[in-house]
Point group: D2
Chain length 435, copies 4
C-alpha cells in the first residue's frame, strides 16, 4: 500500500552526514570535499546523500564551552527563516542560501540534505518577525514552553494556529527553491516523553508532512532523535520516511549491543518508504567537531557487526566519518557490493534468536535465496550456529559475503567461529528445501 511520500525512499537512504565528524561546525568546503569523495568512490555502490547537520545558521557555532551556545544570534531572513551563516558557507551570500551548494552536489550526481530543529527561532519570536504570507508575527504562533531540552534555539509551533502551518510552508518552500532532497528534523521523534508539555510532536510532524507536500518537491523526511516509541509506529509510517529508533549512537560496544534489542522490537516495521533508523555509522575519522577527534573506537569485528546488522535489518546507511580521511579498511566496508545488495534487494528480515551471548538474523533475497547472519555478542571467540531447519532448509550452498568466498554445501546446521563482538553474513542457496 505504497503512499505517495514513500516513493522518494523505496530503498533505505544511503549517504553521509556531517555530525559525527564536524558536529556543529561543518563548512561549505567540508561538505563539498565529502561530496567529491562520494562521487568518486562511493556513488556506484548506492551512496547518494550529502547532509549538512545542525547549526548551519549560527556563525559562531562550536566556539562555546558546550556543543550549542545558548541564545546564539542566528542568521535569519526577514521572515525569521534560518539562512546559512555566510562566514561558514560563503556561497550563501546575497540571500542565495544553500542553492549554490545544492547545485554543485547535484552536478556530481548526488543529492543534498539539511538538518533543521522543529519549530521557529526564539530570536524571530522575541523580535516579533512577520510570518511569510500571513499578517501575524512569530510570537503569535510559538509556544513558550515547547522547547528542546538540549538546544536553546527554537520554540515549538502551536498546531492550533493556522499560521503555524504557514511558517512551516514558508521554510519548506525555501528549501524546495534551494533544491533540497532530504530533511532531517530534530527534537521531534521522542518528544512525547515531555510529560507536562501541551506540545504534541504528532501534530508538528503532520504540519511538516503537509509543508513538504505543499512545497511540490519530493524530499526524504528523517526524524530525530530517538528512541521513537513503537506505539507511534503507524503515525511515523504515515508521515515520515525514516525515524531514529535509538538515542544518539556512537562508537561504544554497549550501544551497538543495545541496537539488537531495538531491531528486535522494530523488525516488523521495515517497509518501502518507511525505514526505522539505527543512526549514523561512526566509522573512520570522527569527532573533530566537538568530541576529541579520533579514529572510531569500534574494533574491526564490531564494525563488521554494525554493517551487518544495519544491512540485514535494512536501516538507512548514513556514514558519519569524514570521507576524504577514509582508510582502505573503512572504504572496504562501504564498498562491499554483496553486502550492500541487501539494502535494495532483500526483505522479511527477522531475528531467529537472541540472548546475551549471540543473535541470529535471517532474510530473503528477491532471487529466492536466504541471508543468514550470526553474531557473537560475547567477550570471547565463539562458535555460533543455526539449524538450517530454522530457515526451512535442509541443505544449502553457503557464501560468506564479507569474505566474498563460497564455503561449499552444508547440511542441517550452519556454524561459524566468530571473534568477540563480530559477525558473519552468509547467503544460503537451497539444495533441497524441507517439506
Amino acid at each position: 500500500m505504497l503512499r505517495k511520500k514513500d516513493r522518494v525512499a523505496l530503498t533505505p537512504p544511503m549517504g553521509w552526514n556531517s555530525w559525527d565528524c564536524f558536529a556543529a561546525t561543518v563548512t561549505e568546503e567540508q561538505l563539498l570535499e565529502n561530496a567529491a569523495y562520494m562521487a568518486a568512490h562511493l556513488k556506484k555502490y548506492g551512496w547518494e546523500y550529502i547532509v549538512c547537520d545542525i547549526q548551519w545558521s549560527e556563525p559562531l557555532a562550536g566556539t562555546g564551552e558546550r556543543e550549542y551556545r545558548n541564545f546564539a544570534r542566528l542568521t535569519l531572513d526577514q521572515y525569521g527563516r534560518q539562512m546559512p551563516a555566510e562566514n561558514r558557507f560563503p556561497s550563501a551570500a546575497g540571500g542565495k542560501g544553500f542553492a549554490p551548494i545544492a547545485k554543485k552536489i547535484h552536478a556530481m550526481g548526488l543529492k543534498f540534505g539539511i538538518h533543521i530543529m522543529r519549530g521557529i527561532p526564539r530570536q524571530a519570536v522575541h523580535e516579533h518577525l512577520p510570518v511569510l504570507g500571513t499578517d501575524v508575527t512569530a510570537d503569535q504562533v510559538a509556544l513558550p514552553d515547547s522547547i528542546s531540552r538540549w538546544n536553546g534555539d527554537m520554540y515549538g509551533l502551536d498546531p492550533q494556529k493556522p499560521e503555524a502551518q504557514a511558517y512551516y510552508d514558508s521554510i519548506f518552500q525555501l528549501y524546495a527553491s534551494w533544491g533540497v532532497d532530504f530533511v532531517k528534523v530534530d527534537d521531534i521523534c521522542n518528544t512525547n516523553m515531555y510529560p507536562h508539555n501541551p506540545y504534541s510532536a504528532e501534530k508538528e510532524i503532520e504540519m511538516i508532512r503537509r509543508a513538504i507536500d505543499n512545497s511540490g518537491r519530493g524530499m526524504v523526511l528523517s526524524l530525530s532523535p530517538g528512541p521513537a516509541v513503537i506505539e507511534k509506529a503507524w503515525h511515523m509510517e504515515k508521515n515520515a520516511n525514516m525515524w531514529r529508533i535509538t538515542d544518539d549512537f556512537w562508537d561504544k560496544w554497549e550501544l551497538l549491543k543495545a541496537m539488537f534489542e531495538r531491531c528486535e522490537v522494530w523488525q516488523k516495521h521495515v517497509s518501502f518508504g518507511c525505514w526505522p533508523d539505527c543512526d549514523m555509522l561512526p566509522l573512520g575519522h570522527i569527532g573533530a567537531g566537538f568530541h576529541a577527534a579520533r579514529e572510531t573506537n569500534f574494533t574491526r569485528p564490531e564494525q563488521v557487526t554494525m554493517m551487518t546488522l544495519w544491512s540485514i535489518f535494512r536501516s538507512p546507511l548514513i556514514m558519519g566519518g569524514n570521507l576524504p580521511e577514509c582508510d582502505s579498511w573503512t572504504l572496504s566496508l562501504l564498498t562491499n557490493a554483496e553486502v550492500l545488495h541487501l539494502l535494495g534487494h532483500s526483505s522479511d528480515a527477522c531475528q531467529l534468536a537472541r540472548d546475551d551471548a549471540h543473535a541470529v538474523w535471517t532474510s530473503l533475497d528477491e532471487d529466492g535465496s536466504r541471508y543468514l547472519s550470526l553474531f557473537n555478542l560475547g567477550e570471547e571467540e565463539a562458535e555460533i550456529s543455526c539449524p538450517l531447519a530454522e530457515v526451512s532448509l535442509f541443505a544449502a550452498q553457503v557464501r560468506d559475503l564479507w569474505q566474498r568466498k563460497d564455503l561449499g554445501a552444508v547440511e542441517s546446521t550452519v556454524s561459524a567461529k566468530i571473534a568477540p563482538h563480530g559477525a558473519v553474513l552468509l547467503k544460503l542457496t537451497e539444495l533441497h528445501e524441507i517439506e
Copy 2:
C-alpha cells in the same frame, strides 16, 4: 519463516469459549450442547474449537460473592494436577479427566480446548504434594509471591528450578493424553506489569512452550489476559499462537472503539501462526454465569463493526454467547462466508486513517482484489469515504460483503452512508490500477 509451532494455527483460530456466557460455572452438558450446535450450524464456515474456560476443577465455582472463591478446595490428583470437578463434569469420574468430553467433541469433527492459570495450585503447595517424575514437592518449585491479582488458586513456578519444567511437562502430558487441542493460559500475558515481582512471565511462557513441544501433541497456545506489551511481540511470536492485545473485552462501545487503537498498534504483527487476539465476541446471549444474563448490549451496527474489524485485522474469532440461544441475526453474523473468507484468505491488513470520528482499513485478497472497510466511530450517521488512490486504484468494481450485493463501479472515491458506530466491508476489484 514458519516456526513448527505455527503450523497448528495457519489461520486465525475460530471457535467458542464458555466464559462470556457461563463464567466460572460451565458444565459438561453446556459444553456438549454448544459443540452440537457448532457441528450442526457453524462448522462448515470454519468454526471448530470448543473451549472450556476457568475454574473447571472447582466444585463450588460461582457460588461465592465474587467470581472466584478465595482458597477454594480444588479437585487435584496425587501430583497436584487439577482435574475436572466431577459434580460439574460427570464423565471425568474415575480419573478420566476431560478425555471423554474431548472424544465426543472430536467425534463431531471439532476440536477441544481448556483454560488454565499459569502456575501450580496453592493447595498442592501447602499440602507439599509430589511433582510427577521428580523427587521434590510442590512447595519446592513454587514462588510465594508470584501470584495473580485476581484469582487466588495458584502460585507461579520458579524458572530456576528444573522441576518447575517437570511440573509443566506433567500437566501438558496429561492434556495430551486427554486429547486437548487448544490451551488458553491465563494470568501470563500482562504480568510484567507487576513491578516488584521476581517472577518473569517470559520464563513461564517458555516453560509452557517447551511442555507443549515435549508432550508430542500439537496444541494452540493462547495467552491471556491483555494488554500484551508490544515491545514483547517477538517473544510472543516465537512461543505462542495468539495473545490478548486488550484487557477483558465486553459489550460496551468504549471498549470496541478502543480496539481500533490496539489494532493500529499491532497491525504489523499478524502472521501465520501468530495472531494478536482482540478477545471473545460478546454476541447473542451472554452473562448467565456471573454478570446479569442478557442479550448483548451492542447495537446491530456495533456488532457489524466488531465482526468487520476482527475479520479484516484477522483476530482469532471466538464466540462468547451461548450458541444454542443464538437468534437468526446473531447466526447471520457468524455464517457470512464472504466476510469469514478474510480470515483465511486475506493479508497485509493496514489502517489507512483513524481519528475520533472514523477509521478506514484495507487488505489484500489472495486473488489480487482488495478489501476496504469504512467505520463510523461517531455518534451520528455519517458519510465515510476513502480516495481510491489510497489503495492504489483508479477505478473498481465494488461488492458489499455484509449485504452480499454488487454496488457497481466507482471512480476516484468510495464512500458510504453509515449508521453511528457502524461499518461497511467492501471488496474492490480493479478496473484500472493507477500508474
Copy 3:
C-alpha cells in the same frame, strides 16, 4: 532555634494580595484603595501587607486571550530588571519604580510587597542586556530550558554562574531601595516536579535567600505555587518564611476539603518564621481580573471553616477579595479579634481526627487554655463531638469564638450541631485536668 530570617515573620503574615480580584491587571489606584481600606478597617486586627501580584511590568497585561500574553514586551531597565509599567503605575515614571507607592503605604502604617517570577526576563536574555555589576550579559547566566510551564516571561538562572547571584542581588537591591517588605517568588515551590530539568529549585531559592540577606533589608520571602514537597520542608524552613502547600486555591469546596489533608501532612512544620501557606482567602468580591467577577462561591459555613482552619493551623492570612467592596459579613470574618488571636498566641496545633465526614483540631493558647475546632465535612447537618480526654481535660468552660459567647461548662465530651461544610471554634478553659 530562631534563624535571622525568621525574625521578619514571628507570627503568620496577614495582608492583602491583588491576584484573586485583579489577576494580572492590578493598578496603582487599586493598590492604594485597598491600602486605605486596610488602614482604616483592618490594621488594628493585625493586617498589614499590601502585595502587588504578577505582571506589573507588562503594559498590556490581561488584554490577551489567556491570563498571560506569550512573549509580551515587558518594561525593563538597562540591566534587564523589570520596572512597573507606567501606564498602570504612573508614579513609577522617571525610573522611580515602586518607591512612591511603597512610601504611601508605609505612611499608612502598612507594609508593601511585590510578586516576582524566579529567573531573568527572556527579553533581557534575547537582547543580551548586561547584568549589573558584572561584565557578562543576560544570555550568559540564563538556562534555555529552565522555564515556567504557565508563563513565558522568564528563564531560570544557572546556579553554577556567579553572575546569576549578581543578577538576583541586583533586583533585590532595587527592591530594598524601593522599600519592599515582602516578596512572593513564583514558579519556584513545586518545580522539582519538572523531571528532565537540569534546573534546581533548591539552588534558585538559595540564591534568592542570599540576595535578600545581601540587600540589607528584611523582607518576608514567600514561595509559590504549591504543592511544596514535604521531603523538602527543612530546606524551605531554612530559606523562606512561607511556602504554598497546595496548588492555587479558589472558592470550591473540593479544594477546601482537600486542604485538611494538606494541613494534616504539614502540621508539625509550623514554627516562628516558617509558615506553611494555605494560600489566599477567596472571600468577598473576587475574579474581576480574569475569571468572571463574582462574590465568593463559598457558603457562609464554608467561609467559617476556611477561616477556622487557617487560624488554628496558623497559615498566613492573605485576603484575596477587593477590600473596598467587602460587605459586613465578610468584614466580620476579617475582624474577629478572638479568632485572629490564634495567629499570634497559639501553638502546637494538631489534628485529633479526620475522616471523610469530619475533622477535629486542637491547639494551645499561651495562657494555658486550649482551642478545639470541630469541622463538619459532610453534606448534611451533623453533630460533631470530641471526648475531652483527647485534649487531656476532664471538664472545661467553653467559649464559642465565632459567636463570641460563653457556652458554660461541659464534662467528658464537647459536641456541636454544625451545618454542612461548617465549623465551630471553641476555647476551653480547664476545670479539672485529667491525671
Copy 4:
C-alpha cells in the same frame, strides 16, 4: 497532647533484638543469655527490652538456602495462631508459649518483646482453621494477594471482615497472657508501595492498634520495615510508638550516610510516644544467623557517628550485636551515660546544616543547655565548625560527651578536627546568650 498509647514509650525504647546476630535462628538459650548480660551490664543505663525477632514458630528456620524457607510448616495452635517452635524454645512445651521466657526476663527487671508478620498464616488459611471466638475459618478473612514480597508465611487480613479484627484480637490476647511488652510488626510500614494491592496497610495498623487496646496490656507497637512514608506520619503517630524510617540498616557507610537524609526529613516528628526509628545498631558481633558472622564492619568513628546521630535525633536504641560477645569498646558505646542522657532529657533536635561533606545538629537539654553534634561525612579528616550564633549563643562552656572532658569556653565558633566518617557530641552551657 499525649495519647493513651504514648504512655508506654515516653522516651525512646532501648533494648536488644535478636535479628542482627541470629537472623531467623534465635533460641531460648540465646534470648536468656542476652537478657542476663543486659541485666548485669546495661540495665542501669536504661536498656530494658529483649526482643525475639522473626520465625520463632518455624522449627527449621535458617536451614534453607535463603533466609526464609518457602511454605515452611509453622507451629500453630488450633486457632491458627503461631506458637514458639518447641525445638528452639523448649519452655514453650505444653502450650505455654513465650510465658515462661517472659517471666524469667521480667524477673531480671527487663521487658520482653516479640516480632510478628502482619496477617494470618497461609497454613491456617489453606487448612481452613477456625478463628477464635467466631464462626468463620481463616480462609474467610484472608486476602489472597495481600502478601509479603520477602516472606511467604502470611496472608494479609481483609479489613472489611469483622472477623479479621477478631483474629488480631485473638493473637494479642495471647501475647498479653504471655506477658509481652513490645511487639514489632513486620511487612506493614512501607506496604503502600504495593501499587496494585487492594490491601491497605493503614487499615491493618488500625486493627492492630485496636487489638492491643482490647488486650488490656500496654505494649509498645513498633512498625517495620521502612522506609515509612512521611505523608503518613500523622497516621503512624496516632497508632504506633515507633516506625522504621529506612529499609534494613546494616554496617555499611553508605547506609549510615543516607540516614542523615532520613533524619532531616523526620526531625519534626519526634515526640513522646512517637519515635521515628533508625533501626537496630549493628555493633559488636553480628551476622551469625544468616550473613557471615563478623565483628561490625563500621570503623570506630562510624560507630561514634551512629550512636551520636541516633542519640541526638532520639531514635529508639536497639542493639543488634550479641551482647555476651561485646568487647570493651562496644560496651563503652552502650554505657556512656552522658550520651544516653539525651534519649530521655533532650528535645527539639534539629539539623543546622548538611551537605555532602558534613552535617551539624543541635538540641536542647531540659536543664537549658544545648547539645551540638558535628559530623564529618567526608573521606578525609576535616575541621568541622559551627558559629555559635546559629544556636543563639554568644559564648559557651563546652564539654565533649564522648571524651567526657570539659574543653573550656569558646566564643563565636565551635569547631573540631574530626576523623573521616566521625563525629563529636558537645554540650554547650551558655556564658552569654545573644539578644
